[in-house]
Symmetry: C2
Subunit: 215 residues, 2 copies
């Protein structure tokens, strides 16, 4: 069977949530789960979960449900977690350094290759990750291709740096700047707009607590 004909972005954005919940269930030692139990957990309908998974194949068993380990594995596969993706960090300021130190890139299937900045830390390493000068970006990427560039540079550097990353062949930009990057057909941009998120929260708390609004 399998489908895969044009999976909507709404479905795709639920996949990491499934993955996260299944990881948690696995951690708790749960072996099998039904679509209705998982839906209960996650605030989704059983129907939606089955419909979502139906986009990619058949992962369950009638009368039994889903095996937690193998469903997690399958979803990880769909997300591309074992594709050997690589990543470089642009900007080792407060935010860049915090991500370098805190974020477990490997858990999402990314190998962190290096960080780049214009002063400060250049020449040192942060938790074992070398920090180079931005001037060396193209040279480095030439010999160490990166799937994704994490953009955490100051506002004014955002657009030119995004262009350099794209020209150097990255497939995606993980954008932590508050700048809307110009669209390019050859690069996917995933935005993390803190202020959009906080303003949404501002709206929601300013209203009279309309439950179920989130996610």
């Amino acid at each position: 069977m399998k489908r895969q004909t044009k999976v909507s972005i709404a479905v795709i954005r639920r996949l990491p949530r499934y993955y996260r919940h299944l990881t948690e269930l696995q951690r708790r030692g749960v072996v099998r789960i039904s679509s209705s139990a998982l839906g209960e957990d996650m605030g989704l309908t059983a129907s939606q979960i089955r419909q979502d998974l139906f986009c990619f194949g058949e992962f369950g068993q009638q009368g039994y449900g889903y095996n937690v380990d193998s469903l997690r594995e399958e979803i990880g596969e769909i997300l591309g977690i074992s594709r050997g993706h690589t990543l470089v960090v642009l900007g080792a300021g407060n935010l860049g350094r915090a991500l370098l130190k805190n974020f477990k890139f490997a858990n999402s299937g990314f190998e962190l290759l290096a960080a780049f900045d214009v002063n400060d830390e250049v020449g040192t390493t942060v938790d074992g990750v070398p920090v180079y000068h931005t001037d060396q970006l193209e040279e480095f990427l030439d010999s160490h291709p990166a799937s994704v560039g994490l953009l955490a540079v100051p506002r004014c550097a955002a657009v030119p740096m995004a262009e350099r990353l794209a020209n150097a062949g990255v497939r995606g930009i993980w954008n932590f700047t508050n700048v809307e990057l110009p669209a390019r057909p050859d690069v996917i941009v995933e935005n993390v707009h803190f202020s959009d998120s906080l303003m949404t929260l501002s709206y929601l708390i300013s209203q009279g607590v309309p439950q179920e609004a989130e996610e």
Copy 2:
């Protein structure tokens, strides 16, 4: 006129984007804009923009379009930017400190009151913001009510700390931990799940560049 009967979360999440684009237009000195020009800019249809705004009132003028300044002002009002919201930061580790130092809370209408941690920086100030011990959280919030708590504590502290914030009367939690917080009817949770975002990007670059997938 005006509607406001049950605005969908999809519309709400577009409001901060409108606000951001209008701010940029304002910065560039643009005085008026039509729904079609704004749609062009943002990759939305003119129809959708007019439909979105229609949820909240009439902000334009037939034959003219929208005044950039006043539309921005109105959307800011809808988002609750001038409601005098306040915020405390829980966890002054790498990420918490990076946000304390970098993020312009005031631009989203929030006054940053204080940060809390268990060691390290306690007793000091970070860019003028006092860092207290977590033990003093309830006492502090009693005299300085906060609209929102920014949660940037370690995994294991996330759920109990969220509960303390909720019990102390915050209206929203801005959750930067990778933990799914239990739902409560009296608190809105807005999640910033870095790993979900990166995994979505991983999926998208793993496919054959299906343009227009983002946002």
